[in-house]
């Protein structure tokens, strides 16, 4: 039942403990499923926020020990101590406090409000700091085994999307494509749906998407019961977890399978943006370099070539998407301080859109290498 190999678990825990040491954090309380798995190899219940609230879990990691609370014993590696997480706030806080012992600086993710207050009370001398100061630096650089899993995850997801594309025909509903996709993933052994699959028709005119914020391209995010018509541009974006690692596959497909001249022009534009970004993608480049490369194609006067408040690119790893987020309101100044380094995995998702013609968006995952980058995705269909 434990999917993660012992070397993978050991490598991740070593990175985490090194980051703890650098941040001078004595202990961590981790409550995100991805963090829990990264630190311990334990696999928590996978579900939406209400499922997690009903079955809360946590990991407590110190320089010498790792404990898991609230996860079935069979889903926790044997070398990791496991126990139930009491359901009342006070008892849960006391259990965490017992494990934290004399830790003075504790990196904490998030707790239900009552549990958080009870933990503060139980450890009056402790200083709580955001755990992300430890977890994000540790997770930013992937080990070779992590990269292999991310590559495998991408390929499984791409194959499932490819299986569904022929079903994008006039008369089919968007939501039916979701079902076909989830089934195609499950047949490949991938059953943890991380992000609601998007199979959404692009708005062709800004007036068709009055809800959109200014500054970016018009878009829809929410798959609906809408029935597709011939020629609709269907934006696809799917995120599933394979062995805990995120696959994120996106492309745009013309309903009926035959792209128009306008569709082809939009795809060419997307390709141009992608290539401009890839051209600057190497160790030592900054996130701002990628941002500027994309804007260099489209110009800084018009909307950014991605939806606002989404992004040009983001990281992916265990448990979902992660920093760096490139193209957000954090701005170029913040992006100047984000340096690309070998082992970082990015997901590029530029979008080309023109009034009246509609849009084309696709995604490409890459790992930064010593000399540049290597794509983990195949070109979009």
């Amino acid at each position: 039942m434990i999917e993660d190999s012992a070397p993978l678990r050991a490598a991740r825990l070593a990175r985490l403990r090194m980051a703890m040491s650098e941040a001078e954090v004595d202990a961590l309380v981790l409550t995100h499923a991805g963090s829990l798995r990264y630190a311990t190899g334990a696999v928590a219940v996978h579900g939406d926020s209400s499922v997690e609230a009903a079955r809360p879990f946590a990991a407590v990691v110190t320089s010498r020990s790792a404990y898991v609370l609230g996860v079935e014993r069979e889903r926790v590696p044997s070398e990791v101590e496991a126990a139930p997480l009491p359901r009342t706030s006070r008892a849960a806080a006391e259990a965490l406090a017992d494990l934290l012992g004399s830790a003075r600086t504790v990196g904490l993710e998030r707790l239900a409000f009552a549990t958080g207050v009870a933990l503060e009370t139980a450890l009056p001398g402790a200083r709580f700091v955001p755990a992300e100061g430890v977890t994000l630096p540790a997770r930013a650089i992937k080990t070779p085994e992590e990269i292999a899993l991310l590559r495998e995850a991408q390929h499984l997801n791409e194959a499932a999307v490819a299986e569904v594309l022929p079903a994008i025909v006039p008369g089919v509903r968007e939501v039916e494509l979701t079902g076909r996709f989830l089934a195609a993933m499950a047949r490949r052994g991938v059953t943890a749906c991380h992000v609601e699959p998007l199979w959404c028709v692009f708005p062709r005119r800004r007036a068709d998407a009055p809800w959109c914020f200014s500054g970016g391209v018009p878009y829809r995010e929410l798959t609906s019961d809408r029935t597709l018509a011939g020629g609709d541009q269907v934006m696809i974006d799917t995120g599933m977890l394979h062995a805990g690692y995120m696959s994120d596959v996106g492309c745009t497909w013309s309903c009926g399978g035959e792209p128009s001249a306008a569709d082809r022009a939009l795809r060419s534009r997307w390709q141009e943006i992608l290539e401009a970004v890839l051209a600057v993608c190497r160790p030592g480049a900054t996130a701002a370099d990628l941002h500027r490369a994309a804007r260099g194609v489209t110009g800084t006067e018009g909307p950014a070539p991605w939806p606002v408040p989404l992004y040009l690119a983001h990281g992916i790893g265990i448990g979902g998407v992660e920093p760096p987020f490139i193209g957000t309101d954090l701005g170029l100044a913040a992006e100047e301080s984000v340096l690309l380094a070998p082992g970082m995995v990015l997901l590029l998702e530029p979008c080309a859109w023109e009034e009246g013609r509609g849009g084309y968006r696709a995604e490409q995952a890459l790992v930064v290498t010593a000399s540049g980058y290597e794509l983990l995705s195949t070109p979009p269909p």
């Binding site: 499923a33 219940v45 996978h46 579900g47 939406d48 926020s49 209400s50 499922v51 997690e52 609230a53 009903a54 079955r55 069979e74 889903r75 359901r87 009342t88 904490l108 993710e109 998030r110 707790l111 239900a112 409000f113 009552a114 549990t115 958080g116 207050v117 503060e120 709580f128 700091v129 955001p130 939501v175 979701t178 079902g179 076909r180 989830l182 089934a183 195609a184 499950a186 052994g189 991938v190 059953t191 943890a192 749906c193 991380h194 992000v195 609601e196 699959p197 809800w211 995010e221 929410l222 019961d225 939806p307 606002v308 989404l310 992004y311 448990g319 979902g320 957000t328 309101d329 954090l330």
Partner: protein
């Protein structure tokens, strides 16, 4: 049967949230947990597995016509929500918190929050206001459900049950849980449902229950417990059943499970307590896998009834409970709505 309008249901819920805030003298409600944010605001977002972030994405201020939501998915806001209440999600945490502080500053009374994280705690302390737990307020706003909400939950339960039936029908020697998830997914979306509540789970009954890994095959005679959940129109449905691989469930065992279910259901009346529900389960010889029972609404909700706990909470009329007793290795779920008199089943009997 026409489906209830989720936007109208959300507006009713928002009114109940405002009323609960007024009763508790809460001036601002800050929510960072996705299903709670949906509950209070009615604004749907692309659903993502996991517990959510550490910075609130929804702010309800006392007397406001709608919550202010910070979202990347503006197409998910209900039509009654003013455009000015929909703001882009800020990735810059300090800017997001500064905007929340502006909203809170215009209110009086306590500030209620659903989570605690170090940076958020620093922010809350700076507000200089009484900070309280949002959970009791939200629980108060959750009940009683309106007939429209009950209908929406019933539709979500039916969607989950339809998908579960397809998965159960696919159980045969050599099948894997992944294949059952595939059967569930295709059927689920036929009903209009687009996101599973969680990863579908399959257990093998023995001396205890053992989770069957997604690639593990089922063998003849395996007694399997299946549980799947889904969302439909912003409401959650969950369904569980026991099946025997290439065999049939012993009718006597199934009857004993049903007898226990009915004994537990008899305690599900307004004013009775979760302790009474547990006592009835024990008296009927029932155990649990996970929880004995839980509430249902926009997700899994309180009360969470656990045989290992000794809490004692009153049941409220209009709340929906999913009962999941285990008797002699048989586990299945059925949902009901609590009333002053006998509970009303929301699903047909097995």
């Amino acid at each position: 049967m026409s489906r209830p309008d989720p936007a109208a249901l959300a507006r009713e819920r928002y009114g109940r949230v405002q009323a609960a805030m007024a009763r508790r003298q809460v001036g601002a409600l800050l929510l960072a947990t996705p299903h709670l944010a949906l509950f209070a605001s009615g604004a749907r977002r692309v659903q993502v597995a996991g517990s959510g972030g550490t910075v609130p994405t929804t702010v309800v201020t006392a007397g406001a016509p709608a919550a202010v939501v910070f979202t990347p998915d503006p197409d998910g806001a209900p039509p009654w929500m003013p455009r000015t209440a929909i703001e882009p999600l800020r990735w810059d945490r300090e800017r997001q918190l500064a905007r929340i502080a502006e909203l809170v500053a215009a209110t009086r009374g306590a500030v209620a929050c659903d989570v605690l994280a170090p940076a958020l705690r620093t922010f809350l302390d700076r507000l200089g206001r009484e900070i309280v737990d949002a959970a009791p307020l939200l629980a108060e706003a959750a009940a009683p459900r309106t007939p429209g909400e009950i209908a929406a939950i019933t539709a979500a339960l039916a969607a989950a049950r339809t998908g579960l039936d397809a998965a159960a029908a696919a159980v045969r020697t050599g099948v894997t849980p992944a294949r059952l998830v595939a059967a569930f997914a295709e059927t689920m979306t036929a009903t209009g449902s687009g996101f599973p509540l969680g990863e579908g789970r399959v257990w093998r009954a023995g001396p205890g229950f053992t989770r069957v890994a997604s690639g593990e095959t089922c063998a003849p005679g395996d007694l399997l417990a299946l549980e799947f959940g889904t969302y439909l129109d912003g409401h959650a449905g969950v369904a569980g059943v026991s099946v025997v691989c290439d065999g049939s469930l012993d009718p006597a065992r199934r009857r004993r499970w049903f007898t226990a279910l009915c004994a537990i259901a008899r305690q599900c009346r307004a004013g009775r307590s979760t302790a009474a529900v547990r006592d009835a389960a024990r008296a009927a010889g029932a155990t649990q896998l996970g929880l004995l029972a839980h509430g249902l609404g926009v997700g899994i909700e309180p009360p969470l009834v656990d045989l290992q706990m000794d809490d004692d909470r009153s049941l409220h009329a209009g709340s929906v409970l999913v009962l999941a007793p285990v008797v002699e290795g048989v586990r299945a779920t059925r949902a009901l709505v609590v009333r002053d008199g006998a509970a009303r089943w929301l699903e047909p009997a097995p």
